[in-house]
Symmetry: C2
Subunit: 572 residues, 2 copies
């Protein structure tokens, strides 16, 4: 930070208080205010705004980089220097990544970046080479999934603040692991968002999560700059390898240049400057090729997008669940179709949406590694009433079958923390709002939502209760069954790495199926074959050869294989 | 109509009353209800819907083709046969069109399609070869611009109904004139829209004009079909040559296939079937190439779009006005820039919008005839407090200069009815809502809007007052000055037709300018040169030659020309 400055176009006058001393600020162009004091690391400061009638209370800086006393407290000047040791880090192309999504607060007993660092070696040995941190921007209190973040240049203090994040990134790179940050640019968190007092950061609209961000209306240039500068900060100053953009369909994006294109351009610039690849991944369920198509074809050109469809296909087949959006899934035929085409909906009727949905992806242009898939993730787990994981109700065989289907597919796999050992801890929704009214509304909103679905209040964890948060902490003491599953994950990731299917062209994948079974192989000579049984009865599949790996004990012949219930086989 | 049918997914039971006799309807797939009575032309019918508790009053058919007693009355069965005489009609490519926008109700003393027919010869002699009818879908009462329409398959009865529209199209084709309909698919009119009782035709959102149309949410397939079937009806059964889509930026269009693409596809199909070109023109001020880019480049591929920018440039230069969006215009340099690039904003700061706006058009792909320009239109006139036309305050020289700049440009010109003779009648906003509360709100809303801009209530015509409507009727008794202007329009259109600039590639246009003057020519050998003076002082411009046409008396030399105040010259 070269000098103290703030964008406050709404204000008639602005003052800054630095370590107790108040200074007038000077208005310059287009709503920016300046103060000539030289910022020094460790200084605490706040702004006060005058609207012509009265002064606000002291407010944190919208571009604060540190909030040591929380989202309502003063901002802290943080230096941008750091003793980086990752000079040799060349990055990892997304095509070759195995991502591991984790929530810093519950991944370890300590709930800090430092404690994550202690697990990096474990992750590397598992076969993971990228971690995706659920959002780490400041939120009220110390317990939050992260999607209630404000202060988009800062890092949650209780996790370790900006210095802690840099240490984690540096250590990850030393371990050969890339770091992806999940960033929320579609709404501001409901508590501690003082930005609207400064300028038009939000629109009149609201998502279910908070105020909609003004990226298209009057004043949106500065709001886009707020976002794009934060993107650059993470990728450049913090050496972060990629961003996962939360819910891009909720962007109020109506300008001729989309925010996604602009984010991607910043990422491309940083990649060019540093010669380390940078990845921008969009969360979307729109089955809209525009997200990943390149600019020449009118697309936003993101590196990749989340693809829920594979999860939904596998989840419905293994659990038999059909509630909500699962109604559009549930047959092996649909799984085969999705593996062949990536998008489940390609101008296809969706019963859940009660309308036609999606558009075909041009498979000649979009490689399958640009689709991120998973056996579960924070949402697929935590959006359930009790936040229960698949591993709390499925058998080890079923868990291994889920994993094998995802990990061997040509798409980019993402694990959710703990799934690799079948964690029995749930991942329920939790918050620690300090605003009583907001806390009450959040609790009641969630209870009512699930009550409508037929749940008893008593079975839905109270998101405000610290016990709910505590229940989500991973238990790292593995039982024997968990060790076996963990070994399966490691084996499968090894097979993916050494003998995996072609990830450059989905049309190379050959998928066959019956009512309960499915096989995948690719067109290359000597490709392995994956055969899976999505039923509780043995099934004979028309592929054979030599067994490379299985979690059960299939009978492998020359031309056919008998798979156990919920069994799979990797054949050569 | 093969049989009586209606989409009423909300209803538990549906009855139809045909000429006084009530019949039960039979539910079939996806919310459609049927009755086996054979429809016969002239029958009046209504539907009643049962929601499980009570029956609605008798309602008109959402797909009604005729409402002889107005939007609240019964529907009428109308045959689709007609004695067409336009078998030899081959259509006119938009590149070659000169469009004339007219409002059926005020274009003639009678205010009917038949009376428009009587003016076709006049229009053809003027040089017009396409008429664009402001919307003709039914509205409450007899006085309305048309943007409050409901019943999107029907035609306003007081204009002459569906039969009258067909006669007009047939007669226009006989006169060598194409017909474009202005259609409103972004909102339903505020009175007489019974569709939401039948099904999810609207969303919870509202534009300033009425309920937002549900083209993206649950049930939107049938709403899109409602729109697309009406598009086909106009283009196919009614032989209409093109559609102008009102305010496409207000479409709530969030599906992977845009409604615009789907409309264009229907138009392409009808063009293929009939070998008559069909044009889809979008109204937009977004300076977003996606509107006209083709599908391979991620665009919606409309034939053309309205381009307000040229109007705003010319209007500000000649009137000196700078209020509202005119603040972003007003120099000859900007006019030259807009003539060269079509879009005024190409990732360019807009003071009016308080943000950066637009994106460059790829001039190698998008021909200038795909931009529709005008010296004024219904909005640029009628959205003024008093609805005053330029011709009520500008000199004949200024009017001729406006016209020459627009009519000679490579863009497709559109005249607004009466401008060719400098009509002194205003075109104020008028409505004839029969709902008292709606009428009151419309009147007060308009008065308050202009009061905020500093107008006295007394100077803003009451939109409900029949006198306001009457004041808008064109007066066809030309005064001498009006005859001279009319002659100028005819001359300019003749020059456009015979010696006009290249309309296929805007990069062929050569534009030079000084502070008050501008010249246009194209790269072709022997091109005419257009020179214009946008000031009230004579100016010498660095082009000469032989005078082809002027409205004033320029002094034309070999290398330079002296233009009169507000004068122009066409030179060879």
């Amino acid at each position: 930070m070269q000098r103290f400055q703030v964008w406050a176009p709404h204000a008639r006058d602005v003052r800054i208080t630095i370590d107790g001393a108040t200074h007038d600020m000077r208005a310059e162009d287009r709503g920016w205010w300046f103060c000539d004091e030289v910022p020094q690391a460790g200084q605490r400061y706040t702004f006060s705004l005058f609207d012509g009638t009265e002064w606000t209370k002291p407010l944190p800086d919208p571009r604060t980089r540190s909030q040591p006393d929380g989202v309502h407290g003063p901002s802290e000047v943080v230096a941008d220097d750091f003793e980086w040791t990752d000079h040799d880090w060349a990055g990892i192309h997304l095509r070759d990544q195995v991502i591991y999504e984790l929530h810093v607060g519950t991944f370890t007993p300590e709930g800090t970046f430092n404690a994550v660092t202690d697990k990096l070696e474990y992750l590397a040995e598992l076969g993971v080479n990228a971690i995706e941190l659920m959002p780490v921007q400041p939120f009220a209190g110390t317990r939050n999934w992260g999607y209630d973040g404000v202060d988009w240049f800062a890092v949650q203090h209780s996790y370790g603040g900006p210095e802690g994040l840099k240490r984690l990134v540096d250590a990850a790179h030393a371990e050969g692991i890339a770091v992806i940050l999940d960033v929320v640019y579609n709404h501001f968190g409901p508590e501690g968002n003082y930005n609207p007092l400064f300028g038009p950061y939000t629109t009149h609209g609201r998502t279910g999560w908070g105020d909609v961000v003004n990226i298209s209306g009057p004043g949106s240039d500065e709001v886009r700059a707020y976002i794009l500068d934060s993107v650059r900060q993470w990728l450049s100053e913090f050496h972060v390898d990629g961003l996962r953009l939360d819910a891009v369909h909720a962007y109020d994006d109506r300008r001729a240049y989309s925010l996604m294109e602009e984010i991607r351009r910043v990422a491309d610039e940083v990649a060019d400057e540093t010669q380390v690849p940078r990845t921008i991944i969009g969360e979307t369920d729109q089955n809209d090729p525009r997200i990943v198509n390149d600019e020449s074809r009118g697309g936003y050109g993101l590196s990749a997008q989340w693809l829920d469809d594979v999860h939904h296909c596998v989840h419905t087949l293994i659990t038999g669940e059909r509630q909500g959006y699962y109604i559009d899934y549930g047959t092996v035929e649909l799984l085969a179709d999705t593996l062949r085409n990536a998008y489940r909906f390609r101008d296809t009727w969706s019963e859940f949406r009660a309308r036609t949905h999606g558009r075909p992806l041009d498979l000649s242009q979009v490689a399958p590694w640009r689709m991120v898939t998973f056996t579960t993730n924070h949402d697929q787990t935590g959006n359930r009433a009790a936040g229960d994981r698949p591993s709390q109700s499925l058998s080890p065989e079923q868990l291994a079958l889920r994993a094998a289907t995802i990990l061997l597919s040509p798409f980019t796999p993402m694990l959710f923390m703990g799934e690799e050992f079948g964690a029995r801890t749930p991942f329920p929704f939790f918050v620690s709002h300090t605003d009583d009214e907001l806390a009450r509304m959040t609790r009641e909103g969630r209870l009512q939502e699930f009550a409508r679905q037929g749940w008893n209040y008593a079975d839905v964890p109270d998101p405000l209760d610290p016990k709910t948060f505590e229940s989500a902490r991973l238990d790292w003491e593995f039982e024997k069954e968990q060790v076996l599953l963990h070994d399966a994950y490691r084996e499968l990731l090894e097979i993916r790495r050494t003998r995996g299917f072609n990830r450059e062209d989905l049309r190379e994948l050959q998928v066959e199926h019956g009512e309960t079974w499915l096989t995948m192989r690719d067109a290359a000579e000597g490709s392995v074959t994956f055969a899976a049984n999505f039923s509780d009865a043995p099934v004979t599949v028309p592929v054979g050869g030599e067994l490379v790996y299985s979690f059960t004990t299939p009978k492998v012949g020359a031309e056919e294989t008998v798979l156990d219930p919920w069994g799979f086989a990797v054949l050569a």
